[in-house]
């Protein structure tokens, strides 16, 4: 279990996130939802070890009782943009994280290439990111994140740049990948629909300063998450977000 305790984030002139604690459970998707500027991405970035310049933070994190010092191999981070390097082929991009862990180029490629088929990228190994569609690029970015085999994934609005249809398809696709190899996921989003489809648990953040105001478990199994089944949760979320957004 990943435990984050009393994380406080400050900008030069204000408190951005007041002391905040949360836990990530292996095999569960936890969505962090809230209005823009509430600090949800900053929480994620602190865990990833890439807090924006100009922000300072205090807090503790531990994985299964062991203190965690970000950035840590226990966490794989995927930012909002796919950040595939345009000068690398898709296979080189996908293997980048593995190479940074000390694996040789050849060994990293050997680990990555067999996964292309399962990620819907067969035949794209030696193409450049600019030759792929938005959805394929995002799958390549997921491949780069997931191949690291970190027990926890930090996903910062990974579907926000995609069109509606691609986003829905990719959400289902990601859930299928997570079902194959369960991990603890912290997914930042501002999309109610996405949160209720993907999450096992939803943490609602309010702004000014950022704080968690609700912790909503979703007990309905995913195959049964119809519009009707989720309507109540969405209505609750909507009113919570409207109340807490100035």
């Amino acid at each position: 279990m990943l435990r984050l305790e009393d994380l406080t984030i400050r900008a030069a002139d204000r408190l951005l996130v007041e002391p905040t604690s949360l836990t990530l459970v292996p095999g569960q998707v936890t969505c962090l939802i809230g209005p823009s500027g509430c600090g949800k991405s900053s929480v994620l970035k602190w865990l990833a070890g890439v807090l924006a310049p100009g922000l300072t933070a205090e807090g503790r994190a531990e994985v299964d009782g062991t203190p965690l010092v970000p950035p840590s191999p226990a966490l794989a981070y995927q930012p909002q943009q796919d950040t595939l390097f345009p000068w690398l082929t898709v296979a080189e991009n996908a293997a980048l994280g593995l190479e940074l862990t000390g694996l040789s180029r050849r060994a990293a490629q050997a680990r990555v290439r067999p996964l292309f088929d399962r990620f819907g990228l067969a035949g794209c190994e030696d193409r450049f990111p600019r030759e792929l569609s938005g959805g394929m690029r995002q799958r390549a970015a997921f491949l780069r994140t997931i191949v690291l085999d970190a027990p926890y994934l930090l996903l910062d609005e990974p579907f926000s740049a995609l069109d509606a249809v691609t986003r829905l398809r990719l959400q289902d696709w990601l859930l299928a990948r997570l079902a194959e190899r369960p991990r603890g996921v912290l997914l930042v989003t501002h999309d109610l629909y996405e949160a209720t489809q993907m999450a096992d648990r939803i943490l609602v953040m309010a702004a000014g300063p950022g704080r968690i105001v609700a912790d909503i478990p979703l007990t309905t199994p995913r195959p049964a998450r119809s519009e009707a089944a989720l309507a109540g949760v969405r209505a609750d979320l909507r009113s919570l977000l409207m109340e807490e957004t100035p």
Binding site: Q81, P86, L100, T101
Partner: protein
């Protein structure tokens, strides 16, 4: 083919200007001592082709050596300054100040200090071409998108990996822009250095021709120096094309 098509307008414009120049010289009956016609310049080039080739070779040698060393020094310095930001804050203002020293003043001093050999000329070329390349490289490194930085750091990259994996590739266009600017300065700086004192080179050719009131020969050397500069730029363009397949048509999502 497309390169030829791109060059056609410039070619036609140059041809028109030369025709205008030739026509003006014939119409106004200007003395060739003051303004030789393009045909006089061409004749000067052809008649003195062996001498000019020898002098151009000497200029090219100095410019090539100086430029190559300058590229190496600029790259090494940029790497050092990337890894030592405190050093950058100290060194950059001095470098900017060094660029305010006029080359006209520096060239004779170099000859005075280091004699008439290759060294003063090469040093002068380095002094003139080093700064644009260094600044281009540093501004290229500074263009590293925060998203790329964050992605690499979150995967455990240290400063070395950040540099090699992202800052260096991101800086490639600026590096080539700096190379092109410096290449145009290299030949001019060499000619200046030769002008201040040399046994061979287009600079000393120009000085001798000027002292003999041979404007046609001065302009012949100018044409040749332009040709050398354009050749150097062409070579850089070729290197860019041959080594830049990965960087062409780049769709930089995070920029």
């Amino acid at each position: 083919m497309s390169v030829l098509r791109q060059l056609l307008p410039a070619f036609f414009l140059a041809a028109a200007l030369l025709a205008l120049w030739q026509g003006y010289c014939a119409w106004a009956d200007v003395s060739p001592l003051i303004l030789p016609a393009p045909s006089d310049v061409a004749r000067g080039l052809w008649v003195n082709r062996a001498d000019l080739a020898r002098h151009a070779g000497a200029t090219l040698l100095v410019a090539g050596l100086g430029f190559s060393l300058s590229v190496a020094f600029a790259f090494a310095s940029s790497v050092a300054l990337w890894f030592l930001p405190a050093l950058r804050r100290g060194v950059l203002p001095l470098m900017v100040a060094s660029q305010t020293v006029p080359i006209v003043a520096l060239a004779p001093l170099m000859v005075l200090w280091f004699g008439f050999g290759l060294l003063p000329k090469i040093l002068l070329v380095i002094l003139v071409t080093f700064f644009p390349m260094l600044v281009s490289l540093l501004s290229g490194y500074a263009r590293l998108p925060q998203a790329y930085h964050d992605q690499l750091v979150s995967m455990g990259a240290g400063r070395g990996a950040l540099f090699r994996r992202a800052a260096l590739p991101v800086a490639r266009p600026q590096f080539f822009a700096g190379l092109r600017i410096s290449a145009t300065y290299a030949i001019v700086a060499t000619i200046f250095a030769e002008y201040a004192g040399a046994r061979q080179g287009l600079g000393i050719w120009i000085l001798t021709a000027k002292n003999n009131f041979r404007a046609d020969l001065v302009l012949s050397a100018v044409v040749l120096s332009a040709f050398l500069t354009l050749s150097l730029l062409g070579l850089l363009h070729l290197i860019d094309r041959l080594t830049g397949r990965r960087f062409r048509g780049g769709d930089d999502a995070a920029a």
